[in-house]
Structures are given as structure tokens and as C-alpha cells.
Symmetry: C2
Subunit: 169 residues, 2 copies
DNA sequence: CCCGCCATGTAACACGTTACATGATTTT
DNA sequence: AAAATCATGTAACGTGTTACATGGCGGG
């Protein structure tokens, strides 16, 4: 459901096409969501039907006509109302955590390998986030990236400590 | 799909009923998943059909007969194979992050309120995790709780820093 | 006497991903 | 000559949540 507000939020900045929204999400919001066309287009249709957005069709030569969506007053109201509500609980789905919990079934060497691989992966992610931050051009983007960076560092610390306890045992 | 391995993993410790699994998940794994009966029972049926588990039905007076599931060799093999594979990417869905990103549409006071509320919430969560940790009785459980604790602390640090930059602006 | 625990399950709904379909234009 | 970009969309599939249905037993 929160893709609804993702769209309304982006349209509240400026009118956009579905295609624009997709690009914007990939560039700036990949930490938050991965919304695909299969989610975005149907949701735009729905928002239109419900009056939260309006659309202006711009014909193009030899291409599907561009549909520029613009948020309506009703849409703005809905967005505002949603923003004021406290955020619903996070849903973290960390397959890695599950594996770790189930690792009784694994011998110590394999467990060690699992943890080490994880650390490599997170460290790679940390580097790529740092690179992204250099390119960031809005405060909002920096906030989100910082968030991801803080979490990465925390996970690395935790992994180090975990490795230490595994080393002893 | 990973509920499949959740079930296999828990059954690899000892035979259990669907009801037992649900309880276990609520008690020890709420950080990782919230699997409901509507997920668990159908998955057990499927695992049975596919030969990854076996079942023993124990009739009871005036209650649905208890179905105790036990993992099969095929199931164990599948679990091992899965555990050895690197974990797939995390999917973090943080509604709060989205709100923050879209907060251009919000005036500074409301933004402030959003951030403050979040901090209260996370601090409450931190306390409840600490309490849970005292009750923990397996290393695995401590690992998972520690993970959640590290993330909580990181988020609080990030929020503090965010509050500071908001205060200045 | 009521509530929570035990214990199974299904059905409707909501959500999201992936792959497919189309096809010119611009960049490498 | 190939690949990426622009630009729309649908359909099948997979997964998960919620609410419903059933009903005795034990403790406060």
C-alpha cells in the first residue's frame, strides 16, 4: 500500500510519467523500495480512478503517448494525512539472520564461512553507499543514505563481535 | 519461500506440530518473521506432499488430532543446501524512511514531530529487546537479539544526528 | 462464568515480481 | 551493428495476511 504514497509524494514535487517515477525510484530510493512497472502502472491507474491524480496525454511520434500525471488536491490531502500518521512497524526480512538462527544444523566451519561471506558483502555495500553519497544532491537523499550507512556500520560491528565469539568457541 | 526453510530448520531440531512452530516463531523469531497459520499450515502440507517432512497423527479427545511433523532425509539435504548458499539480499521496508524522503511536503514542525516520535518508538523497542535478552536461553537467540540491538542503537545515533542538522536549519 | 490455551484448517483478498509484448530513436 | 533509452502496458504466478470456522479444557 505504501507505493500509493510513494507515487503521491513524488508527484507532489512535480508532474511525472510512470517511466519518470520508475527512474527516480531506481536512482534515489533503491534503499527504500524497488517498485517495478508492474506495481507502478496499475497503481497510477487506480489513483486516477480514485481522483487522487489527474493525467494529461501527450502524443508522440512513433512511441506510446506520454502520460503526465499530476497530483490533485484530494491527493495532496491524502498525502498530508499519511505523512502525519506514525509510521507502521518495519518489516525486516533478513534471510541471513534466519540462516544464523538455524545454524545449529551447520558445522562450525560452514558457520564461519557464512559469517565471513556476509561481512564481505556488507563491506562492499558500505563502499557503494559511500560512493553514492558523494553524488547525492538533496538533503533527503543524504538522510536516506546516511541511514543505510549507519545500519551497515552497525552490522559490521555486530559481525566482528560475532566472529570473536565464534573464534573462542 | 524462506518460510519453507524456517520450518525445515525448526523441524531439524525436533519434531513439532504447526501450532508448536507458530509459538516458537512468536517467542524467538519475531525479529526475523511473523509467519501466521495461513502461511505455516499450507507450507507444511506442501512439504509433506513433496516428501521433505513426514507426519504422525496423534488422536486426541475432543480436539483436532495433533499432527506431529518430522523432517525427512530429503528435507535435511535441502536444508543443508540452502544454508550453504549465500543469503539473498535484504528487503528492508521502512515506511519511516519513505516518509522522511517525502518530507519536503511537510513543514519543519511536523518533520520534527515525525523524527521525535520515531525516536521514542525506537527507544521503547531498545528497552524491550534488552528485557528479552535477559530471558534468552540459546546462543542463537542471543545472536539474533544482539543484531536487533545493534541496529536499534545505530538508528538512534542516526536520529540524533538528524535532529541536530534539523535544529540548525 | 469468562478468558485464554490448545489445535486444526480454509477462503478471500491484497500485494508484488517477472516476464512478455511492442517498437522507434539515440548513443556507443 | 549493437545496445541502451524512451514509453506504455498486461498476465501469470507466487506469497502473505486476515478473518472466519470449530470447540473442549483448565484456571482465575
Amino acid at each position: 500500500m505504501s507505493h500509493r504514497y510513494l507515487i503521491l509524494g513524488l508527484l507532489s514535487e512535480r508532474p511525472m510519467t510512470g517511466y519518470d517515477i520508475k527512474k527516480r525510484v531506481q536512482e534515489n530510493l533503491s534503499t527504500v523500495t524497488n517498485a517495478s512497472y508492474g506495481t507502478l502502472y496499475p497503481m497510477l491507474h487506480r489513483l486516477l480512478k480514485e481522483g487522487a491524480v489527474k493525467v494529461k496525454e501527450i502524443p508522440q511520434r512513433s512511441r506510446p503517448s506520454k502520460k503526465v500525471y499530476r497530483i490533485s488536491q484530494a491527493g495532496l490531502d491524502e498525502l498530508q494525512a499519511w505523512l502525519k500518521q506514525p509510521a507502521s512497524d518495519d518489516q525486516i526480512k533478513r534471510e541471513f539472520l534466519l540462516k544464523l538462527y538455524l545454524a545449529k544444523a551447520l558445522d562450525p566451519q560452514q558457520l564461519r564461512a557464512l559469517v565471513d561471506d556476509r561481512r564481505d558483502e556488507i563491506e562492499a555495500r558500505l563502499r557503494s553507499l559511500r560512493a553514492e553519497k558523494k553524488e547525492a544532491d538533496s538533503p533527503q537523499q543524504v538522510w536516506v543514505l546516511d541511514y543505510a550507512l549507519y545500519l551497515c556500520r552497525a552490522e559490521i560491528d555486530w559481525l566482528k563481535q560475532l566472529e570473536a565469539t565464534l573464534g573462542v568457541a
